[in-house]
Every structure is written in structure tokens, then in C-alpha cells.
């Protein structure tokens, strides 16, 4: 095992172990005890398994899962950032349909292999975005009657 996946395994299992320890600590310290009976039972198993996994990762024995290469991380980063901004800010800040339209178009532009210099590809992306959002509006606003947060434009 090379160093990068090993360090990644240590980080990932370390985070899980940290969550396990926190859950166990909260379960055993919070009151009323009766409400935490089941969480105590689970958290005990949780923390044992999490620490076991963490120990194995430190010893370099964690072999399942290939981790994430730097190239893959670089490919994911822009899309993930756009998606998280969309979910945690834009959907509420701009309104669902406006935010979805912008996000959809940005994602298509980021990951579409067609050259960005071609006008045709931009038109295609705009048409796909408009078509999909029209379907989404028809499904959620008209068919299901889902009330979304107020939009900036309407």
C-alpha cells in the first residue's frame, strides 16, 4: 500500500472513530439515562468497531477501498462546490427554480466535453436546461403542488 491511500484510510477511519467516541461520550453523560439506554448499547459497539478500524488503518492493514486520487478529487471539486452552494445557500437564497436553473447550466458547462468555444454547444446546454426545468416545474409545482421558498424574480 502506498502512503497516500494509507493516510486517506487513517483520516477516514479517524473521522469515523471521532464520531464514535463523541456519540459514546454523549450517550453515557447525558440525562435522563433511560432515554439513552438504546444509544448506549449501540454506541458501545460503534466505538469498538470504529477504534478497531482506526487501529487497522494506522497499522496499514486497511485494504478495502481504494481511496480517492488527486486527479479524481480535482474533477469532483468544482461540481461538488457548485452542488453544495446550490443546496446550502442558493436554493433558499435565490429560490428553488432560479437556483436549479443556474446550477444545472453551470454543471453542464463544467462537465460537457463539447468545446466551450462552440456557440452550438452553449445553445444546446441552454435548451437542455430550459427543457428540464420546465419538466421539474410541471412535476413539482403543478402536479405535486410543492410550495418552494419565494423566488428572487417572482
Amino acid at each position: 500500500m502506498t502512503d497516500l491511500p494509507r493516510i486517506q484510510h487513517i483520516c477516514a477511519s479517524g473521522v469515523v472513530a471521532l464520531v464514535g467516541v463523541t456519540v459514546t461520550w454523549v450517550s453515557y453523560t447525558q440525562e435522563p439515562a433511560a432515554a439513552f439506554l438504546f444509544p448506549r448499547l449501540i454506541s458501545t459497539v460503534f466505538v469498538v468497531l470504529a477504534l478497531w478500524t482506526f487501529g487497522k488503518a494506522i497499522l496499514g492493514c486497511s485494504k478495502v477501498g481504494n481511496g480517492l486520487s488527486a486527479e479524481a478529487l480535482l474533477r469532483i471539486a468544482p461540481g461538488l462546490l457548485v452542488a453544495l452552494v446550490y443546496i446550502f445557500w442558493a436554493a433558499k437564497g435565490l429560490g428553488f427554480y432560479t437556483a436549479s436553473t443556474i446550477t444545472f447550466f453551470i454543471l453542464l458547462s463544467l462537465y460537457d466535453p463539447a468545446p466551450h468555444s462552440e456557440l452550438k454547444s452553449w445553445v444546446r446546454r441552454a435548451v437542455i436546461t430550459a427543457g428540464f426545468l420546465a419538466v421539474m416545474y410541471g412535476l413539482f409545482a403543478m402536479l405535486l403542488g410543492v410550495f418552494t421558498p419565494r423566488e428572487i424574480f417572482f
Binding site: 484510510h9 432515554a35 439506554l37 438504546f38 461540481g79 436549479s100 437542455i128
Partner: protein, 510 residues
């Protein structure tokens, strides 16, 4: 034979339209690589809120059935299995298509799927009521152990590491305890306002299955799917029907293997298809032809993965224990309508239960008919570019999770769980046990508390939970499933180590 009296409900025009919609949609979604049956069903749940429970289940059941079969289209025509269940179909199906026998392979695949699927649904029809009545004998301690069994079986059988599978199950069980405690009203693990109401199962399911897929599509970057869609020549359907029933050995091996595997919680369609393919190959006098475009390979694999669908719902409908991630999603679809599986379902909501099961039976026939006609179209749709699919799934996930309770908190939970799951999957954790833990957690806790109360009033807790034939049997199955998986993992590791050592020795010698 109670199911016969509810057959008419399937043919109520709106119900039948939903069945056709679910079937055609499922075939197209199934053919799309990257859209697993579980994810397709999870994304469809928000569309069932406005429907009657039976109607919602008809839509979800039809989608489940036909996404499994639809995966064969891309496996045969594109050499890309639409779902893991169709991996074995690719081996001979695509070779047949390359030889200009694409239509024949598709016809055999859908006909075998229908035969396997119908057999599987009949098992569901005849086993479920019997087991549901038997489940009445289950007390809180048994139900507690059953819930734990559901998590441990999937945790230990799914994925490559038993410890990580069980750990994922524990994470799911812990997530299910977030929110206010039902009995004392105490706050538990509410670290953010979005978690005050606990974690709603539907947004969690959407996040856990859809978001990792979206990020996986991002990871492919600006690449184009270079799969060539093979042309589908005409082939007489009568010949295909005669051929499917003429190759009875492959058909029966696939059907029986799939049905048995479907009944075992945690063992999915991927295993069913591969085991059936392997068995059909071993018992065939023409075993050398397997892998070179032999029709029996397609028949065995496809009859198995669809035969698995019906039996995989038996533990869900009788004991409230979903045997697979897709069954867990269907349980979510039942719970949002306030319906609990088990004897309650058959005693108090027989119309819902039987209409759903009957619709799966009719759905198998429709899937076969539509499958033969929409295969070409589905193969084209399967080529939808990655970036479009990622953006579509992301938007559907956001809208779908918001529409559950019109709450942004649900959307945040969906995104956080989904993003976290993607990174956990890179390190050998699997979503299936986590989902099972999340769904079975409340069942396990409610029965654990109830059992503890009974135990305190009558005997000791250890005596109540650890004695009695049924308790001991369930505990033994939990221990055996974990022990068996650990053994298998150790054996697999030893094989890899021996191979590595052999390669190292060879390199040293050369």
C-alpha cells in the same frame, strides 16, 4: 387464495396507468448505467405522496421490477450493465448482439425475466400470508433480534469488509436515534436545528443513494460515453418463446437460484445472476460455449435476477425487515402512508397488500411486452451524457427531499449524508447496512425498551432477551452470519496473499 379477489383493483384505469408508467419508466431508468433500481425507486417516492397507498406502491413496485429487467438492455446492446444485477447478462448477451443476434438476446432476456419474475411473485403470494401469521408469535425480544439480524446480515454480507459493514450498520442505528426520544421526550444528539425532528427516512435514502452517484459522475470529468449501440435486427418472437422453454435447464436453474437467493436478506440480484450463470454453465453439456454468446447464459442470469425480486420482499412484508436496500426504500414508501408491514398489513390493509403484490405479477407480463418494444429506445436513452444525468439527479434529489415535509432541513440532511457516504464508500463502507440501520433502528429501539420493561416486571433482562428457542435461534443466525462472513473474508485475503507471494517469487526468480 385471497389475492384473487383483489385482482380487479390492478385493472382500475388509474392504477393500471400507473403500472404501465412505472414499467416503461423503470425499463428506461434501468437501462441507464449509473441509475440503480434502489436509487430509481428512492427518487420516485416523493411522487407517491399524493397517491393512495396502493397506487404509490404499484408505481414503486413496477419501477423496481422493470429497472432490474431494463438493466439487461444496456448490458446486451452497450456492454454496460444497467445495474449490478445484470453483470452476468453482459457475458453472453453482448456477444450475441455483436453477432447480429441483439433482438434474440433481448427477447430471451425479457421472456426469461418474466418467467423468473412470475415464479418469484407466486412465492411471495404463497409464503407471505403464512409467514405473516407466524410473525404474530413474535414478541418484543424476537423483533429486537430480528431487527439486529437485518442489520448484521446486510452489514456482513454486503461489501468487502465485515467490520466496516457492521460499523456502517451501527452508524445507521445511531442516526435513527437522533431527535426527541419517544418515551421521555428527551433531546438526543440534536447538534443542529435541522436535526430537531430526527432524520426523515426518505431524504436520507435519497441522499445516501443518489448523491454518491452524482459525485461519481463528477469524478468522470469531461468524458463522453464511447459505447456503440448495436443495431437490433428483427427476430420472430415465437422462436424466442420456443427457445426459452426449450432451454428448460437454464431457465429452471435461474428461476430457482434467484428465488432462493432472494429470500436471504442481504444477498442481492448481482449474486443471484452470477450464481445462476455459474450453475447453468457447470451443468450444461455446452459449457464451452458460455461466454461466446450462448443463449443459456442470458436465460439463466436474467431469470435469476428477476426471480429474486418477489422473494426479496417476503421478509419486508411479513416481519418488517427489509431484505435489501430496495426493499428498505419500499418500506419507506409504506411508512409515509402510515402502513406497517407484517400481519397488520394483511389484516387491516389487505387491499393495499394484495393490489401491490398482484400489480407486481401483472407488471412482469407488462415488463416483458414493453421491454421488447422499448429496448431500442431505452438503449438510446442509456447514452444520456454524464453531466446531464448528474445535474438531473441532483435537482431531483433536492426537490424530492424538500417535498417530503417542505423543509430545507431535510435537504441539508440529504446533502450531508450523501456527500459523507460518497467519501465513506471510497474507503470500503457501504450504504446498504447504513440504510438498514436507519430504518430498523426505531423498530429495534421500540422493542428493546418494551422488552426491557416486560423483563423488569417479570424476570431479568438477560433472561428475557437471551433465553427461549426463538431468541436463541435468531442470536445463532446473527452470530453465524457474522462468523461466516469473517471466515470468507479471511479466506479471500489468504488467496490474495498467496497470489501476491507467487507473483513476488516469480519476479524474484526472473
Amino acid at each position: 387464495m385471497e389475492f384473487i379477489q383483489y385482482f380487479g383493483d390492478v385493472f382500475v384505469p388509474f392504477n393500471f396507468m400507473l403500472l404501465m408508467l412505472g414499467t416503461v419508466g423503470g425499463l428506461i431508468l434501468g437501462a441507464t448505467p449509473g441509475l440503480s433500481p434502489t436509487m430509481a425507486v428512492a427518487l420516485l417516492i416523493p411522487f407517491t405522496f399524493r397517491l393512495e397507498p396502493a397506487q404509490g406502491l404499484i408505481l414503486l413496485g413496477a419501477a423496481y421490477t422493470s429497472t432490474v429487467a431494463g438493466g439487461a438492455v444496456s448490458a446486451i446492446l452497450l456492454k454496460i450493465p444497467g445495474a449490478p444485477a445484470n453483470i452476468a447478462t453482459t457475458l453472453d448477451g453482448h456477444t450475441m448482439a455483436k453477432k447480429g443476434q441483439g433482438a434474440r438476446a433481448l427477447q430471451l432476456s425479457f421472456l426469461a425475466s418474466a418467467v423468473g419474475g412470475i415464479f418469484g411473485v407466486f412465492l411471495l403470494i404463497f409464503l407471505t400470508p403464512v409467514l405473516a401469521q407466524w410473525a404474530l408469535a413474535f414478541g418484543p425480544s424476537h423483533l429486537f433480534w430480528l431487527a439486529i439480524l437485518g442489520v448484521t446480515v446486510i452489514g456482513s454480507l454486503d461489501g468487502g469488509s465485515v467490520v466496516k459493514g457492521l460499523l456502517a450498520g451501527c452508524i445507521g442505528l445511531w442516526l435513527s436515534t437522533i431527535g426527541f426520544d419517544d418515551i421521555m421526550g428527551a433531546q438526543r444528539f440534536i447538534f443542529h436545528d435541522s436535526l430537531a425532528g430526527g432524520i426523515n427516512v426518505i431524504p436520507a435514502l435519497i441522499g445516501l443513494f443518489a448523491i454518491p452517484q452524482v459525485i461519481t459522475m463528477f469524478a468522470k470529468g469531461r468524458s463522453r460515453l464511447d459505447a456503440e449501440v448495436l443495431e437490433v435486427e428483427r427476430h420472430p418472437i415465437g422462436d424466442a418463446i420456443r427457445e426459452v422453454f426449450g432451454r428448460m435447464r437454464a431457465l429452471s436453474i435461474g428461476t430457482i437460484t434467484g428465488s432462493i437467493i432472494g429470500l436471504i436478506p442481504g444477498v442481492g440480484g448481482q449474486i443471484a445472476g452470477l450464481v445462476a450463470y455459474d450453475q447453468a454453465k457447470k451443468t450444461s453439456p455446452e459449457r464451452d460455449k458460455f461466454g461466446t454468446g450462448h443463449p443459456e447464459g442470458v436465460i439463466a442470469a436474467e431469470s435469476a435476477n428477476n426471480a429474486m425480486v418477489g422473494p426479496s420482499l417476503v421478509p419486508l412484508l411479513t416481519l418488517s425487515i427489509p431484505g435489501s436496500p430496495t426493499a428498505a426504500v419500499l418500506l419507506g414508501g409504506l411508512l409515509i402512508h402510515g402502513i406497517f408491514p407484517g400481519s397488520d398489513l394483511f389484516d387491516n390493509h389487505p387491499q393495499v397488500a394484495w393490489t401491490f403484490i398482484n400489480s407486481m405479477l401483472i407488471g412482469q407480463v407488462l415488463m416483458c411486452i414493453f421491454g421488447l418494444y422499448v429496448a431500442g429506445l431505452a438503449a438510446r436513452v442509456a447514452q444520456v451524457p454524464n453531466e446531464v444525468m448528474a445535474a438531473v439527479v441532483l435537482a431531483l434529489a433536492v426537490f424530492g427531499s424538500y417535498s417530503v415535509q417542505t423543509s430545507m432541513g431535510d435537504v441539508y440532511v440529504m446533502a450531508a449524508l450523501g456527500t459523507g457516504m460518497y467519501f465513506l464508500e471510497r474507503f470500503g463502507f457501504s450504504a446498504a447496512p447504513l440504510v438498514l440501520g436507519l430504518i430498523l433502528g426505531p423498530i429495534a429501539e421500540a422493542n428493546f425498551i418494551q422488552g426491557s420493561m416486560i423483563a423488569n416486571a417479570t424476570s431479568s433482562v438477560s433472561q428475557y432477551f437471551f433465553t427461549g428457542a426463538l431468541n436463541l435461534t435468531l442470536i445463532a443466525i446473527v452470530v453465524l452470519s457474522v462468523g461466516y462472513s469473517v471466515l470468507m473474508e479471511l479466506r479471500a485475503r489468504r488467496v490474495v496473499t498467496t497470489k501476491d507471494e507467487a507473483v513476488a517469487k516469480e519476479e524474484a526468480l526472473s
